[in-house]
């Protein structure tokens, strides 16, 4: 099928196209130089914005804890119902939509690639079953390694190469895409009734510190040549005064950077940018974090912006979720995954008139506005922890309009204006910068060469928004911006129109990316010999039953990499 998108205002930051009127030609699911206009389907995009399809690098859309959240919250489904159509299936869920609904809602907003950022390796089969059910989107998942017993043992003995072979084997076995580290050592320490308060606290029994885990896995990441750097959820998340830990975490790998390429992605930094000593004295330290990020090129961040709404928090950070349960008194789930990690789920309502929540809201936006280089800060809500992904249009309008930020601040508790810097920040994002933080930059940091841009050869994933950048002033007409980004005029996935004016027109299947590493056989065999014993000792499953066969993936798309081993 051939498509020709005519006369749109194109924003393609990877190719430095900033709002120029251009035509985009599509053939066989790829962007090409030109197509025969008499044969192609013509889309008239005059007075509209054309951007690459959105790429979300951190959104909890599938897996065991997401499903546990669905089970925990029947009241979340009741509020938000999608009726079945001849093309789409019915579904429910405001903060944790069912799998099919997740795909449709993302596609309506112009997103075409979404990565699930935390899956316990042992439960990844479940994650893939759910990813298979999410229509339209291309996706992948990041297995958790920050509290894995076998990883901690290798790193303690400084056997980096064997650890790299083990992680290569695990990524292959679980069909994962990157190394995710959640509260390194902290979840395991909590299992022993202890806490990790700084990067140099030791994990009981294993005798290893978070610093050693982070540095070790960062080296492993380098050895394996993975497309995405280590994806880190810091220690002390959600505790007032934790901004120091965040900066220390970023700094602990700074000497490992050899070139300009980022080697660490620190995620949902809003939750780790707190000053103060308790919730009453909570203050924003986004400026300190932004200052560090501006001065160091080895680190990228994403926001984890919160939205004032009812949502469900879920992370692999069991101890944090326990703290949140104590704070809110809400119903909760907590779980331990043998030898690997933990997880927790707690419902949460963020309120504008709550001082702490208003400060959290301001911190997220400050981070986005104070980090100068938009290629190193990405827009997320850590769905569903900060708020459901359906609120992205809202976040975009906040980033683009000082006026709406001030309006919300004026209604927040007075101290919020004193203890945050948001009211003093005048910066407003342009459509070009929005395209970077929502698609171009995220595709680049995920190492997706065919995503996030509209150059020849790229996947034809395109979002067309019904808004004219020459006529509207996003700073004043923030409501129009929000409306335009809520539903695309057209969403195109692999060269086919999947959504038009907010209606799904085709519910195709998306790919699942996973890493297929090439590791020297002698190293792999040596590692496997010891792995059999460790599995016997640590796991309730047999090693042979652990790997997920490729046939379980609906549309398996392996990414071949060659390790430097």
């Amino acid at each position: 099928m051939e498509l020709l998108i005519k006369n749109g205002f194109v924003y393609d930051p990877q190719n430095k196209v900033n709002g120029e009127k251009m035509d985009i030609a599509i053939q066989n699911g790829r962007i090409v130089e030109s197509v025969d206009p008499t044969k192609a389907v013509i889309i008239d995009a005059s007075n509209m914005i054309v951007m690459p399809g959105g790429v979300d690098l951190h959104s909890h859309i599938a897996g065991a804890k997401v499903n546990a959240g669905r089970l925990l919250r029947p009241e979340d489904h009741y509020k938000d119902v999608e009726v079945k159509t001849p093309i789409t299936r019915s579904g429910v869920g405001h903060s944790i939509p069912s799998t099919f609904t997740t795909g449709y809602r993302y596609a309506r907003m112009g997103y075409t690639t979404v990565f699930e950022p935390a899956t316990a390796p042992l439960k990844t089969l479940h994650t893939h079953e759910e990813l298979n059910d999410i229509p339209i989107l291309d996706k992948a998942c990041f297995p958790l390694f920050g509290n894995n017993w076998i990883v901690m043992e290798y790193l303690k003995e400084n056997r980096i190469e064997e650890c790299a072979a083990y992680i290569a084997w695990m990524l292959n076995a679980t069909k994962g895409y990157a190394i995710k580290i959640v509260n390194p050592g902290g979840v395991e320490a909590w299992g022993w009734g202890k806490g990790i308060k700084s990067l140099d606290d030791q994990v009981p029994y294993f005798g290893i510190t978070p610093r050693e885990i982070l540095r070790g896995l960062c080296k492993v990441n380098r050895l394996l040549n993975l497309p995405h750097p280590i994806h880190v959820h810091c220690n002390n998340l959600g505790k007032p005064g934790n901004y120091r830990t965040t900066i220390e975490t970023m700094d602990c790998v700074s000497d490992l950077a050899t070139d300009d390429k980022p080697i660490m992605h620190v995620t949902h930094v809003q939750f780790t940018g707190y000053g103060g000593v308790d919730w009453a004295s909570l203050a924003s330290r986004a400026d300190k974090i932004a200052k560090y990020v501006n001065a160091h090129r080895h680190v990228t961040i994403d926001l984890g912006q919160i939205i004032f709404t009812d949502t469900t928090t879920m992370t692999a950070d069991g101890p944090f979720q326990y703290q949140l349960y104590l704070l809110t008194g809400n119903k909760w789930i907590n779980s331990d995954v043998e030898a690997e990690t933990g997880a927790g789920v707690v419902p949460m309502r963020y309120r504008r008139n709550n001082y702490a929540h208003a400060v959290m809201w301001a911190i997220g936006l400050e981070l986005a506005l104070l980090v100068k280089d938009p290629w190193r800060v990405f827009m997320t809500t850590d769905h569903p922890n900060g708020g459901p992904f359906t609120s992205y249009p809202r976040v975009i309008s906040w980033l683009m309009s000082r006026e709406v930020r001030r309006k919300i601040l004026a209604k927040a508790p007075r101290l919020t204006r004193v203890r945050t810097n948001l009211s003093a920040i005048d910066r407003e994002y342009t459509f070009y910068e929005i395209a970077i933080v929502t698609r171009a930059g995220t595709a680049k940091i995920l190492g997706l060469k065919n995503k996030g841009h509209l150059g020849v050869g790229a996947d034809a994933d395109i979002a067309i928004y019904n808004i004219n950048p020459t006529e509207i002033d996003p700073s004043k007409d923030y409501k129009k911006v929000r409306r335009a980004f809520r539903n695309t005029a057209y969403t195109i996935k692999d060269g086919e129109i999947v959504a038009k004016d907010g209606e799904i027109t085709k519910a195709s299947n998306g790919r699942t990316y996973w890493i297929k590493p090439e590791v020297p056989t002698d190293l792999m065999d040596a590692m496997k010999a010891t792995l059999v014993e460790k599995f016997e000792d640590y796991y309730t499953v047999k090693l042979e039953n652990y790997p997920i066969p490729e046939r379980y993936l609906a549309q398996s798309t392996p990414v071949n990499i060659k390790a430097n081993l």
Binding site: L72, P74, E75, K84, K331
Partner: protein, 273 residues
């Protein structure tokens, strides 16, 4: 006063979502428009006049509008959903989720109401002449926001979990109730003239539950306070004497149970000198 009469002509075997039937939705519409409103039969969308004969006079004023419903509504769901004014009179059973999220107006049922009657209501009056099911004036499953205001009067018996997570308002039940009346009660009043099957006020935080009939036992997490002669239920003064218990201690609650002394002689041992 304008009246619109709906007569059920086809009975459905599957749930019939009639959330569109409310004075707010009917006011200002022509009869033709009313006939074309959506109802859901199971997962199929249908028109109102596929199931009902519609006749009567129309009015633009919600407060003057009365909807009369005839027929067996036991498969109805969400009748009078989110209504804020006007009246609904039902001749026959009224189904589940009657008056869900209503904020005002009156619903009168000359028959039985199903479960979840008045769930999350904020104002108005629901009066049921027959029996009612479980979860009267409750929250939705999993939610912590129950009935926030208004009055529910049941002339017959009610099932379990009356007023679960209720936050304000009054529920008055002339007949008997099942177990867990006022479970998770946050505030408001539950007034039961009949007997209870027990576990009254489990995990309540505040509010009061008055029981004139008998109760098998009081939960051990309640403590005896005093004997009182009378108590107020809404605007009504109820004569006792009553044993007054306070709890639920497991929730650090300060709710009050008023249990009739006359019908519960077996609770005398709880009375402290």
């Amino acid at each position: 006063m304008a009246e619109i009469k709906l007569t059920l002509k086809v009975t459905s075997n599957v749930p019939l979502d009639v959330g569109a039937i409310s004075p707010n939705n009917f006011a200002g519409k022509s009869l033709e428009e009313i006939k074309s409103l959506d109802v859901w039969e199971g997962n199929h969308k249908a028109r109102l006049d596929d199931f009902f004969e519609v006749e009567g006079e129309i009015t633009p004023n919600v407060e003057n509008l009365t909807i009369l419903l005839h027929g067996n509504g036991s498969k109805f769901r969400k009748l009078g959903k989110a209504m804020s004014n006007g009246k609904i009179l039902v001749d026959g059973p009224a189904g589940l989720y009657l008056g869900e999220e209503m904020t005002g107006g009156t619903i009168t049922v000359n028959g039985e109401a199903g479960s979840w009657c008045g769930t999350r209501m904020k104002g108005g009056l629901i009066e049921v002449k027959g029996n009612a099911g479980d979860y009267i004036g409750a929250s939705y499953r999993g939610s912590t926001e129950g009935m926030k205001g208004g009055t529910i009067i049941i002339h017959g018996n009610a099932g379990n979990d009356v007023g679960s997570w209720m936050q304000d308002g009054l529920i008055k039940i002339f007949g008997d109730v099942g177990q867990f009346a006022g479970v998770h009660l946050q505030n408001g009043t539950i007034y039961i003239l009949g007997n209870s099957e027990g576990r009254v006020g489990a995990q309540m935080k505040n509010g009061k539950i008055i029981i004139l009939g008998s109760v098998p036992a009081i939960l051990p997490s309640f403590s005896f306070e005093e004997v009182r002669d009378k108590v107020k239920a809404g605007d009504e003064k109820v004569a006792g004497p009553f044993y007054v218990f306070s709890g639920d201690i497991v929730e650090n609650g300060d709710g009050k149970l008023f249990i009739s002394m006359k019908n519960n002689p077996h609770l005398k041992f709880l009375e402290k000198p």
